[in-house]
Assembly symmetry: C2
Homo-oligomer: 513 residues x 2
Amino acid sequence: PIRLESLSVPSLLKHVKGFSAEAERPAMNGVPQRGKLLTLDNMNPKVKRVEYAVRGPIVQRAVQIEKELREGVKKPFTEVIKANIGDAHAMGQKPITFLRQVLALCSYPELLKDNQFPEDAKKRAQRILEACGGHSIGAYSASQGIECIRHDVAHFIEKRDGGIPSNPDNIYLSTGASDAIVTILKLLVSGEGRDRTGVMISIPQYPLYSAALAELDAVQISYYLDEDKCWSLDVKELRRALYAARQHCNPRVLCIINPGNPTGQVQSRQCIEDVIRFAKEENLFLMADEVYQDNVYAEGCQFHSFKKVLFEMGPEYSSKVEMASFHSTSKCYMGECGFRGGYMEVINMDPEVKAQLTKLVSVRLCPPVPGQALLDLVVNPPQPDEPSYATFMKERTAVLAALAEKAKLTEQIFNTVPGITCNPVQGAMYTFPRISLPQKAIDKAKEEGQVPDMFYCMKLLEEEGICLVPGSGFGQREGTFHFRMTILPPTEKLKLVLKKIKDFHLRFTKEFS
Amino acid sequence: PIRLESLSVPSLLKHVKGFSAEAERPAMNGVPQRGKLLTLDNMNPKVKRVEYAVRGPIVQRAVQIEKELREGVKKPFTEVIKANIGDAHAMGQKPITFLRQVLALCSYPELLKDNQFPEDAKKRAQRILEACGGHSIGAYSASQGIECIRHDVAHFIEKRDGGIPSNPDNIYLSTGASDAIVTILKLLVSGEGRDRTGVMISIPQYPLYSAALAELDAVQISYYLDEDKCWSLDVKELRRALYAARQHCNPRVLCIINPGNPTGQVQSRQCIEDVIRFAKEENLFLMADEVYQDNVYAEGCQFHSFKKVLFEMGPEYSSKVEMASFHSTSKCYMGECGFRGGYMEVINMDPEVKAQLTKLVSVRLCPPVPGQALLDLVVNPPQPDEPSYATFMKERTAVLAALAEKAKLTEQIFNTVPGITCNPVQGAMYTFPRISLPQKAIDKAKEEGQVPDMFYCMKLLEEEGICLVPGSGFGQREGTFHFRMTILPPTEKLKLVLKKIKDFHLRFTKEFS
């Protein structure tokens, strides 16, 4: 390529990307158009490779259809139901009273004088405000998060894990879990060519992972969950994927999502032990995405934190395996996605690396303080002797019970439809059923330049107003097709959604048979 | 390097970084210690290069000293005054009533029934809630930000810029301005070797820029502000820096901070025109960091937005120059740093690139919704016919008037100290005075392995309890020394701070003479 600085300005212009096209472009407002400086061709190629199906083209089309409906365009439906994302409040779930009372008090401390607020809510708000600079949630916090909240998180983890100690210095508050996950990946990524860091992620996966790996130019190592065994994880498959990857990159990280997204499985204690043993043997840094830890519905299933299992395996493991685990205010019973609250706990991290982590998060100053406050309430909820306890427990239980009911309902109804097979939704907030698509539909999709499950989901959206995410956005075994749907709509609406999908699927199958 | 997969497990272990040191390490709990998987040696080298002085070692030491004070350790002072960061509330500034009332209403909508809240606050809250999924700020928003808030931002910009149109589709809400700045840099960075993207930043600069460039592996191109001319920007210096950089990289971006951080200058309209003309001639993407746009104090100075000047220069410019400008809820009169609210407007961005930008921000789902709500109030404050107007204006004016007074006071007092020279604080929230350091102090610093201004600031912290940021954290001309101090402490405390620095400086100069 010609070096720009060696050219005069007029000759230089010829070499500016897109400039040569100038002559063919129409003049606008009398001013000739020139090519852009920043184009698809010369922008960051890593960003270009990023994909994020959960908010991809299908969601953009859904938003467009909503607009058309508002403008009076006639459709076979009157409302778009967005079952594409785990967004509880958007699906009508009411916020937990206690959480919001404390947040209102923190936002406008004048309300502390108000008798309508229970004493425990006031006490929590006062404690949070005292920990803030100038007693205002409008001040920056420490970059790692407000100290007393990190202590509360550590206590929460200790209690959850049956007394296994947690050090507040290992807690980092974050802007939702996504932020913390990307931050840890950033630390771990290095190397060129065959030395590039490889990161093992499940297929199906939550596409934050593949997106972050694309942006960071790390190698994605896919291991497959076993659909026939309720999306369980088999260490043999981890080993297969790892050994194959060692031929072309440097595998350093193993990511696990438990309970699973998009697949809803809950890992057994035995399986977690196997994974930890594997990580230790193979020198892998463990990332445990545990944001759905309260969302366990199936009988016989229970949430086991990786931290707890690690420590129960004895000092040979608990002093060695390097790990980060992630939690969020966006899921569980509270579903407060908009606040972008979260934390991670790092375990056995080299102190020098931890100093680098602390430095790295300081560049963004601090996670949103209202989200930190909210997290504090989640890890330190009303206690039995406090006035808000009864209401809090009632609200919390109602949300989780309804989710358990909807998990069951979804599985049952889908499995009545010929051509749809659906594993039990043991946990999390999603179902990921498998759909059989007729060959003619697959051909038609190809003709239109779409992957078959995108073709299916687009048609479902256009005909029924239901927005799902095609399985291809999460990854799936070659030749199989799925979609992800949240189980969050209120029960009656969920029944309607399931019926509409059923009708559509039968119609679709017929149309392309 | 030896390929790991070709080795047996025992021989492999010898090659695991840090493992060879095992024999020398003591056994803990009977378990031999092994080296870490993730170490300073094998972590991401780009992250290692990141520096962020505003929250660097001096602030860590300040936090430690605060702890020591709480534990009863005797010091020559009773309180650490952190003048290192533009954090208004932490320095005692009270939140603006109207903003916080609306936020409380949004957090806990039960309060909408409450008569203590003014009607305009309720109206704003209702409007925001109606624009949220499920009418809750706990729902995710669109990744680009809530639509009606983007409209309000566009109206705000139009009004600010005398009617020049702003398109809500070009507005992206963000997690503070830092988030948006890094996002735009991400799009622009590409290339290897001599083709690596070069980004022009001022020296002194706000270290978010250098940190982001280190992480993204882009080339920093430094242009110097003219301290002798009140930190003004000279296009000749831009040209010098650009032409030199073209020898070794591909300069594509010009970043400007106006009003200046850390230097407090306010750019003249003429200078902005010159910069825009330069950017156009030299094919540079412009990034205008305008987060201090309300913070202009000096007589004869006025804030001119880059957008406005660009459009006033005629279609030859306004249809061509590609630009992004940034704003935040953290500065100005509101100082709501903890909410992490902000926005950017992109101008003349290629539609395909914009689609990539929208995709990229979607991976992080959305900016914090409370911060979006706050931003909405900042761009759509109480109007003269609304009940909150009088109080709002009174509070706003009081904050800005006090800042103007403190800006003047700071300059005046510093300039009475032999060995300190201080430009007028025309705007923003900082002063960046130059300090003369005796050669003996410089030698002593070198002896202790510190840069001289860090040595100076550390000593000031230990002796007087005042936390400043050394000029080296922002960049400065070789052989000159500075520090950054915020002018945010309340007037009486600021006077005390200035007196302490004065006494310290005289003492320091004497000690090392």
